[in-house]
Symmetry: C2
Subunit: 118 residues, 2 copies
DNA sequence: TAATCATGTGAACATCTTTTCATGTGATAT
DNA sequence: ATATCACATGAAAAGATGTTCACATGATTA
């Protein structure tokens, strides 16, 4: 028996399997963007900011107060969230109000919650 | 006019709003776990591994070949994926086959894709 | 048993991240 | 205009992360 046919599952199609996997793989750029997106969710400060915005739009100093962090730290993170188009902002006088950009945020976080609650 | 009533949106409920936001915030541990989970998705190597496993279960060396990376690097990443319970494995002779642990993986990645395709 | 194959793992290195600190910008009020 | 408030931003320091390298483990075969 040839060595490439040694095991069940992966044995059948075989040389084709890896080719098929390669073929179905999205392009490099897409995968990179996807990883970048999840990286944004991968920080508890940013997760907390997003959760805060679930309730209502908030200005920077309010977020800072709720999370008990410096305004500067929050501002840096809001920039990351904005670049990922997860939040939007609008100015009102001196303050700038941030809100969730769309519903994917809720869905993604919701699915994440489901997974850890297993 | 008192300064705390200066703007529209956040002005009404007011002192209550931040309290409400604080109240609805999941506990620290939960938020941390959630961030940890997304951190796992936040690396293009791991995303590529997961995508490869969309197609079929695969052994470590096959994954390494498909991604054109060293077996060691893949092994390290599989450990991370396993600790996050995103993949499972089974032994078959010398080889160890990895597969997706559940459907949250597909859902989460799918939602991520939708977001970047905007 | 010894050799070999597939995989796991610890340490080291380079790189990237997050926060802090100091300062810059834009808007309001005096 | 000047002071003040809310926010943004660059640089630096501390910490976390991913890959490589060398080696260990576990299973098969000779």
């Amino acid at each position: 028996m040839a060595e490439w046919a040694s095991t069940g599952e992966a044995a059948a199609g075989d040389r084709d399997l890896l080719d098929r996997v390669r073929a179905d793989m999205p392009d490099e750029e897409c995968l990179y963007d996807l990883a970048e997106l999840f990286k944004v969710f991968g920080d508890s400060t940013r997760i907390r900011i997003l959760y805060a915005l679930f309730e209502s739009e908030l200005c920077v100093c309010d977020i800072a107060e709720v999370l008990n962090m410096t305004q500067s730290a929050i501002s840096h993170q809001l920039r990351v969230l904005k670049q990922a188009r997860l939040v939007r902002n609008r100015r009102e006088g001196k303050q700038i109000y941030y809100s969730l950009a769309d519903d994917h945020v809720r869905t993604i976080i919701g699915q994440g919650m489901e997974h850890i609650d297993e």
